[in-house]
Amino acid sequence: MNLINNKKGDKIISVYWFAILIIVAGGIFGMVYIFYGTPYDVREIEANILTNQVADCVSYAGRINANLISNSKVSQKTGEDFLKMCHLNFNSSEEKVGQYYVEVKFYNLSDLNNPILNIKAGNNNWLADCVIQEKQKQENLPQCIEKSFYSVDEKNNQYIIKILTAVGKSEKNVKL
């Protein structure tokens, strides 16, 4: 009788160990899944790279691109022309909706409120989200970067150039 009871106890202990093993394995699986299931958010860096690319296109070695402003004469450009000029391609086979937006504003030093040239390219739906991001940073919304710099044209007329870039791609960079 006692022997039978001891065997029962051993069985219970075995089941208990098995249950603990499953719990621990499940916990480890959960940890790995949570950590590696979340993608790296590289949108800020992507927006910075895009800003640098656009800045390089509109001003090189301190001089404004002559295709945009030449001898104080402004050549209006459409978004598509601008993207072509800067060798940028916002179309992606992976995404149905455009994930990038770029806005470049050129200001005369004398009037910083009214841009003399305003170029917009990409998906302008992100622009509204940039306004929200300014007030309160939210991961699910696109990452926006705004940078300004100074440049001169061929006649050394002075301009301030403001570049705003927005990168969507929330699905790929944030766990929704």
Binding site: G30, T38, P39, N48, T51, R63, F149
Partner: protein, 91 residues
């Protein structure tokens, strides 16, 4: 003569003690697992890579700043005003 009732009582209390030990051990294991799960969940939220996190070369090569510097070499009139405007806009 052996007192079987006393021995039975002692055996039972030993079993209860052992069971309590197992239950506490299980709770500790589950507790540790929950702590690790919470920590991994917290760590997954800070997986965003910012420009400041990158190597020193990338951090210091501020292309936009360089552009202002080059333009100032060409025309340095109103230098202070321009720098103040850019500082204000770039934050």
């Amino acid at each position: 003569m052996l007192n079987y009732r006393k021995i039975g009582k002692k055996t039972r209390s030993a079993q209860v003690g052992e069971t309590v030990t197992w239950i506490i051990a299980t709770l500790i294991i589950i507790g540790i697992l929950i702590i690790f799960l919470v920590v991994s969940s917290f760590m997954s939220k800070i997986k965003a890579i910012h420009v400041g996190d990158l190597g020193i070369d990338m951090k210091e090569s501020n292309l936009v700043k360089e552009k202002t510097f080059f333009a100032e070499q060409l025309n340095s009139q109103n230098k202070e005003i321009i720098e103040n405007i850019i500082k204000g806009q770039n934050g």
